[in-house]
């Protein structure tokens, strides 16, 4: 008898999703689908708004990574004005994005995936959460929470609030950072560094005992895409795009955000509100690529800061290849990026230009179309706008990091199900392993569908006759 397993809803991710696992007559896994079940419609209702409002409107897509939308939108706005923003504004935007990377990665690692990694995939589900982690390892959990707070408070110090600050605007930013505030953050850096290095050490211990997870949680060749500096180093804002294949060959390099459509196409499937971006030259679905922390560390030659570079070298050694194709390593990459972000924050806090009062370039509407790109914690984010001669939005397309990992997440679910599913019953451990495989990508479904909702997880097991054989909801 053939069956389908449905996991509905998926938990400890940002948004609503469910998973269907399709079984063959012999009970083996034929296919799996990661359905994103939210819909919001930003690409419609933003039409007719002045583009100056877009950073704040699109920030409302997400409460976890509003900064990514604010920055990508402001970048697109700079291009519509055809201005080069003041140097201080560029540095301040970078500082905010680093704060965002720190807080979002800390949330993913400690709050969302920490319970799996440090309490066990098959541990008691009632305690397999951040509160369970606090009870089991109070110092470790406190460190993670404080690390996230550090990132959030950088955002608050710049934008006046932690979530949805209307701060980066077309042409620059609205306020700088005083010497006193910079000094206060500088004092907190050593603790943040210690927490991150300790987390790296702890993760490596877990990694040593995770051969099975490494080879089953999304272990397959794919392309990787992300931003790099002109020298080919790691970049998070203001760089250009690079695509590498699983062997490390560079397929595209120094591509401007404006030309993203030459690199990426978007396919749709009837069973998910999440689109399926693919690498255009290879077509759909062969053009599967991954973005985010692991992709950024794969595409770059090096990070460009000493501590993060040492860790990157070690990660590549542990993976046994310059290109790391196991998605389990996303956790590792996230910690290395926190380290890199802290090193770059250290440099920026010493820069007196952050206190400048020249922060905003002004101009009229000089281009009618523009693309803004920024590296969100989860990967490359594109905001593509067209405006009329007065600056009202006539077309809007957003390509979100989580969407770009959609094909990879589907393959990951199928791989985990094939490896761990025994019979036609949904064992709790299997459910959580499927979820954990998805969590490695730290998907943000609110962002990717630009959709509302709270975390929820559902999974279905479906036979070849289309009948739901087993179903679980959390």
């Amino acid at each position: 008898m053939t069956q389908t397993i449905v996991i509905d809803p998926v938990t400890r991710i940002e948004g609503h999703a469910k998973i269907s696992i399709y079984l063959d007559n012999d009970g083996s896994v034929r296919d799996a689908q990661f359905h994103v079940t939210e819909f919001r419609g930003f690409e419609r209702f933003c039409i007719g708004r002045p583009f100056w409002e877009m950073p704040a409107i699109t920030a409302r897509i997400c409460g976890i990574c509003p900064i990514s939308h604010i920055l990508a939108s402001a970048k697109a706005g700079d291009a519509l004005l055809a201005v080069e923003i003041p140097p201080a504004a560029d540095k301040l935007r970078r500082l905010m994005n680093l704060g965002q990377i720190i807080q979002s990665h800390a949330l993913s690692f400690f709050h969302l995936s920490g319970p799996d990694l440090f309490l066990g995939y098959e541990s008691d589900p009632a305690k397999r959460n951040i509160f369970g982690l606090i009870a089991a390892e109070p110092d470790f959990a406190r460190g993670g929470i404080r690390l996230r707070q550090f990132g959030q408070e950088i955002i608050e110090a710049l934008g006046g609030r932690k979530i949805h600050p209307a701060w980066a605007v077309p042409g620059g930013v609205r306020s700088g950072m005083s010497a006193e505030v910079r000094a206060a953050f500088r004092q907190r850096l050593p603790e943040a560094m210690d927490v991150t290095r300790n987390a790296l050490a702890r993760f490596k211990t877990v990694l040593d005992a995770s051969d099975e997870e490494v080879t089953s949680y999304g272990f397959f060749p794919s392309l990787f895409a992300g931003m790099v500096t002109p020298e080919g180093n790691w970049e998070h804002h203001g760089g250009k795009l690079r695509v590498r294949d699983a062997e490390g060959q560079i397929l595209a390099d120094q591509v401007k955000a404006d030309d993203y459509q030459q690199l990426f196409g978007e396919a749709s499937e009837a069973w998910s509100y999440l689109k399926f971006p693919y690498y255009q030259p290879l077509g759909y679905p062969d053009g599967i690529y991954r973005v985010g922390p692991l992709a950024r560390l794969n595409v770059c030659d090096q990070v460009g800061t000493p501590l993060a570079d040492a860790e990157l070298t070690e990660m590549r050694q542990r993976a046994g290849h310059r290109m790391v194709t196991a998605s389990f390593y996303y956790h590792y990459a996230r910690l290395i990026e926190i380290l890199a972000a802290l090193e770059l924050v250290t440099q920026l806090l010493d820069d007196p230009e952050l206190g400048s009062s020249v922060l905003r370039a002004d101009a009229g509407v000089n281009h009618l179309e523009a693309v803004g790109c920024s590296e969100a914690p989860r990967g490359s984010l594109f905001h593509h706008y067209q405006v009329d001669k007065n600056g009202l939005i006539t077309y809007l397309n957003l390509i979100i990091a989580t969407g770009q990992n959609n094909l990879a997440m589907n393959q990951t679910v199928a791989q985990i199900a094939r490896h761990y599913l025994r019979g036609d019953r949904l064992e709790e451990g299997l459910l959580n392993r499927v979820e954990a495989g998805i969590r490695a990508y730290d998907p943000c479904l609110s962002c990717s569908t630009h959709a509302v909702g709270q975390a929820a997880f559902a999974i279905s097991l479906i036979g070849p006759d289309g009948r739901v054989v087993d179903h679980a909801v959390r």
């Binding site: 002045p50 100056w52 002004d362």
Partner: protein
């Protein structure tokens, strides 16, 4: 000028004979909510937020349009008035698309402030969600009809203070819109002097500086009264 003695909320008040209940109340430190009223402009009594109860009259009266009389007994804050005021503010929110979270005037908006004052925790009426346009054809300013409450403060400021009457109202009921000249895009309204008094007068984010981003629009509506006072007194 003769004085009148009246009570507001039981407090004995002295007022000049040509004063309105609103003026008398404010001079006595008694707050009555308003929206279409702006010091320096004529009264239209359009918003009905300043309605008060007057002993001996079954009808509620707009404080901005009611002249004080001797022995008048006024109540400004009864449960009945509070319920009406909250309903009025809810209806204003339901009529157009007021999205404070992404509005240029958030934090500096009289409508938003009123919603807080009247305790509007939610809107009980169905939103009309009209399809309203945004006009940013003017070089310096924009008008977003989504946020307009038809208070006509812009119309009066333009007519009475600047003296050009670029602004007016077209249409009726929920189709009413403020317009510039004979309903042409603002950037083509030749009578407009680009003085910005409509921007100062607007209580919401409907009229804004072009290029404003969210929560950035700060204006001082009292400057209209300052201009009028300066002109009348020939400072």
């Amino acid at each position: 000028m003769a004085a009148r003695t009246l009570t507001i909320n039981g407090t004995l008040i002295s007022a000049r004979s040509n004063e309105t209940v609103l003026e008398a109340a404010r001079e006595a430190g008694i707050s009555i909510p308003t929206l279409c009223h702006l010091d320096g402009l004529s009264e239209v009594g359009a918003c009905r937020l300043c309605l008060v109860e007057i002993a001996g009259s079954a009808k509620l009266q707009p404080a901005c349009h009611t002249t004080v009389t001797e022995g008048m007994e006024v109540q400004t804050d009864t449960p009945r008035l509070k319920a009406h005021r909250r309903a009025i503010v809810e209806l204003l929110f339901a009529e157009r698309n007021h999205i404070c979270a992404v509005c240029v005037a958030s934090g500096h908006c009289e409508l938003q402030q009123l919603a807080v004052e009247v305790g509007m925790s939610h809107v009980r009426y169905e939103y009309l969600s009209p399809d309203c346009s945004v006009d940013i054809s003017h070089a310096r300013f924009g008008i977003d009809h989504n946020r307009c409450v038809l208070c006509t403060r812009c119309v009066r400021a333009c007519d009475e203070v600047e003296g050009v009457h670029t602004w007016d109202i077209a249409g009726r009921g929920t189709n009413a819109r403020v317009i510039t000249d004979l309903n042409v895009p603002w950037g083509e309204a030749t009578s407009c002097t680009s003085c910005g008094k409509c921007l100062l007068a607007c209580p919401t984010g409907a009229i804004f500086s072009r290029g404003s981003t969210v929560a950035e629009l700060e204006r001082d509506a009292s400057r209209i009264a300052t201009i009028v006072a300066a002109r009348n007194e020939r400072w």
